[in-house]
Each structure stands twice: as structure tokens, then as C-alpha cells.
């Protein structure tokens, strides 16, 4: 299908938020620096970066974290993000946290949320089929079957599995991206057990945050994701064993 539509499609890769965000959108979305929906989405992501990056000293998140800026004086989106983070933290039994390294850092939610919102910009502009991939976490919009390869963390470049779905989100959390940052808040140690976990759901903000929480959980993530309605997971353990939740088979591409 996509091949047939190719002349009407536009792909763009934008370097932002410390990663590359790839767009697969209708050609009528315009130019990345233009006034169309692609330009709007790109500007939105750069705004999110400037406002929410914990690596920028003058971002609202940094100033809020240092206690220099009251929430009421921050971008109103920060309050929205904090509220969502609190919900996810509660749903994950505290495995998702806005203070992963001891300091305020809501990045675990912000990236997926920003990508989901970017995808919504195209929907609002009338697109019925588009995807936005934020460095490996993807929001797919459209009723056609989208296919996404899941990188195998144990064999660089290899795809462990192909996931397919319609109007859905896919997020993977794993060893490499963790760096020194993903820490089990209960043990203070890096999580053991999983090399990566991929979560599929309807919308990326929650799906991505759930993937982060699930990865921090390690092996108990399986039961936890099973307990969540409308979310499924596929994991690869450090030993190379894979497991999936009971409904994941519906997404196998």
C-alpha cells in the first residue's frame, strides 16, 4: 500500500531531543521549516526540548527542579506532564519515577508524550495515515497495517521480531539506552534480568512510560503488563530468552 502512495508521501528526519525523530507523513504536510503540519510538528518538538530538557540549565524543567521557578510560572504543559507522571507512577507501583537519578527529570514521559502530540498535529490537519518515530519509539496513525521491526538487543542490527498493528504505539526500553540512568528505585541498582522490553499500546505517551517502568521491573514486568488492559509486551532477557504477554501474538507481523 505504502509503495502505491509513495508519490504522495513525505519522509523527514529531524535531529531533536538528543535523538532523531522520523516522520512518515502525507506530502501535503509541507516542509519541516514551513507553515504546514510538518513544520508545526518540528517546531513543537524543538519547543518541548527547550522547555523540558533536564540538560538545559534554563529549561523550565531545570529551573523547576532547582526550585527557582514555581510550577505556576512554568509552561502549563509541565503541570499536565506532572499529573500524567503521577498516574503512571502509581500504576507502576513506583517503578516509573520523575526522579530517576535523584533529581527532577520527567524525560521518561516527555519524549513519548511529545511524539504522540506531534503525531496528533498531522491528524488535526486532516491526515489519516502517518507515523512519527522518536528514536525508536513510534506512534502509528492510520488503519492500514503498520510493520515495525524490533531491534534485538543481544545482536546489534538484528530484528528480534516484527510487530504489526493499526493505529497503535510501540516503545522499546533496553539495556543500551539505559546507560547509568535507569535504576530500580527500590534497590538503587540497575535492573537485572531484561535486555529489552517492547510495549505496544494505543498511544505513545503511556506506552513509552510503561516500557520504561517495565524495564525497571525486570522479570516481574510480565505479570504487571498482563494486568494492564490494552497493553502487551515482548521481552528479551539478558540470557537471550524471550517471552511475551498473552495477547502479544495479535501483533506479530
Amino acid at each position: 500500500m505504502t509503495g502505491d502512495e509513495a508519490p504522495n508521501r513525505r519522509r523527514h528526519a529531524e535531529h531533536v531531543m538528543g535523538t532523531v525523530v522520523s516522520f512518515d507523513v502525507p506530502a501535503r504536510a509541507g516542509e519541516p521549516r514551513g507553515q504546514g503540519s510538518l513544520g508545526q510538528a518540528v517546531r513543537w518538538l524543538h519547543w518541548v526540548d527547550a522547555t523540558f530538557s533536564p540538560y538545559r540549565d534554563e529549561s523550565d524543567v531545570s529551573r523547576f527542579g532547582r526550585g527557582e521557578l514555581p510550577l505556576a510560572d512554568c509552561a502549563p504543559e509541565l503541570a499536565e506532564v506532572l499529573e500524567a507522571c503521577a498516574v503512571i507512577s502509581a500504576r507502576s507501583g513506583g517503578y516509573f519515577t520523575t526522579t530517576p537519578g535523584g533529581t527532577f527529570d520527567p524525560s521518561g514521559y516527555v519524549k513519548g508524550w511529545a511524539i504522540e502530540r506531534a503525531a496528533a498535529i498531522f491528524t488535526a490537519a486532516g491526515s489519516a495515515e502517518h507515523s512519527v518515530n522518536g528514536g525508536g519509539d513510534v506512534q502509528f496513525v492510520g488503519s492500514r497495517l503498520w510493520r515495525v521491526g524490533i531491534a534485538d538487543p543481544l545482536q546489534p542490527g538484528r530484528l528480534a521480531v516484527v510487530v504489526a498493528g493499526r493505529d497503535f504505539a510501540v516503545a522499546t526500553s533496553g539495556v543500551a539506552e539505559r546507560g547509568p540512568h535507569i535504576i530500580d528505585p527500590y534497590t538503587g541498582q540497575p535492573p537485572a534480568g531484561l535486555a529489552s522490553i517492547t510495549v505496544v499500546g494505543a498511544t505513545l505517551a503511556e506506552t513509552d512510560a510503561f516500557a520504561t517502568a517495565a524495564f525497571a521491573m525486570g522479570s516481574v514486568a510480565r505479570d504487571w503488563v498482563e494486568s494492564l488492559d490494552r497493553y502487551e509486551a515482548f521481552a528479551i532477557t539478558a540470557a537471550g530468552v524471550t517471552w511475551q504477554t498473552s495477547g502479544f501474538g495479535a501483533y506479530l507481523g
Binding site: T2, G3, P7, R9, R10, A13, M17, G18, T19, V20, S22, D24, F52, S53, P54, R56, P100, D105, S107, G108, K111, S131, G135, G136, D137, V138, F140, R147, G149, I150, A151, D152, P153, L154, Q155, P156, G157, R158, L159, V161, V162, V170, A171, T172, S173, G174, V175, A176, E177, R178, G179, H181, I182, A195, S196, T198, D208, A211, T212, G253
Partner: protein, 161 residues
């Protein structure tokens, strides 16, 4: 922002550890060879002093553009920096399906690189082709050292339309 808690992806922890300790060497374009020579590490040749080294693999090395039958097109990914040097691949498509992958650039200046190249690249590319069974729209997951490859694949995907 860089992902702190999360997720961009996954990698081979062992490989990452190995690569992380290796000093950087500039990569060189791989020599164009007749594609498809099934390689093994034993057929790798090494040279000292950072000279060009050909790393055989189970996939073509060097651009296939201009050598393709009618109906197939080559799409170059962007060179991506990995912990062990720039990596660039080329996707060969027929009717929007990936039918082949060629390696344009990979690190190949040290014995260590060669071992990785001979082992990991053929494996990962052949597996990529077989696993995707045709067309994929995107790649989820990534990792520090494989980020180069993943990003390169994604960038090639980004250029498909």
C-alpha cells in the same frame, strides 16, 4: 533531550562493553567486491597501520547502484556514527520490498573491528532481511553502539519515498 530513563533501545551488552574500551579509528569505505561472497572470520585479512581492510560478509560490500537489474533500486542510508566508527548501509528494493542490503562503510581498521565486522554485520543484516519478511515501516529499539546501524536503517527507510 537525551533519554534518561528510557528508551531508545537495546544492544548487545557484551559488545558494547568491548567496543566502549576501544579507541576510535577512522573508518574506511569497504572495497567493492563481487557481492555475496560468503565470508567467515578466517577469510578476513588484516593490515596494520590503519590501512583499508576488506571484511567479507554474506552480503555485498560497496555500492550496488549501477549494477542492479531493472526494477531494483538502491537507497543509501546516512552514515551513522557508532562507538566503533561510522557505518553506512545501502538497501536494495524491488517493488518497495527490501531484497538486499549492501554495506557502504564500516569500521575495518583493527583486528578487533574485523572480528566484529565479520561476525556481527553479516549476522545482523541477513537476520534483518529475513526477519522483516518484506517491508517494514520503522524500527523500534536502538542502542548505543547499534544506534549507528539502526539509525542508518531508519534513515534509509526515511528515504524510501
Amino acid at each position: 533531550m537525551r533519554r534518561v530513563i528510557l528508551a531508545v533501545t537495546g544492544t548487545i551488552a557484551g559488545l558494547v562493553a568491548l567496543l566502549s574500551f576501544k579507541s576510535h579509528v577512522p573508518s574506511v569505505p569497504v572495497a567493492a567486491t563481487t557481492g555475496g561472497s560468503a565470508g567467515s572470520s578466517s577469510s578476513s585479512s588484516s593490515s596494520s597501520g590503519g590501512q583499508t581492510t576488506t571484511v567479507p560478509g554474506e552480503f555485498p560490500q560497496g555500492s550496488l547502484a549501477g549494477k542492479l537489474p531493472a526494477g531494483e533500486t538502491a537507497v543509501d542510508g546516512e552514515a551513522a556514527n557508532t562507538a566503533y566508527g561510522p557505518v553506512q548501509i545501502q538497501l536494495i528494493e524491488r517493488n518497495t520490498k527490501i531484497v538486499k542490503v549492501a554495506v557502504l562503510v564500516q569500521p575495518a581498521n583493527t583486528l578487533h573491528d574485523i572480528q566484529i565486522g565479520a561476525f556481527a554485520f553479516p549476522k545482523l543484516i541477513s537476520e534483518t532481511l529475513s526477519a522483516q519478511n518484506g517491508k517494514i515501516d520503522a524500527v523500534s529499539g536502538a542502542s548505543y553502539t547499534s544506534a549507528g546501524y539502526i539509525q542508518s536503517l531508519q534513515s534509509a527507510l526515511d528515504k524510501r519515498t
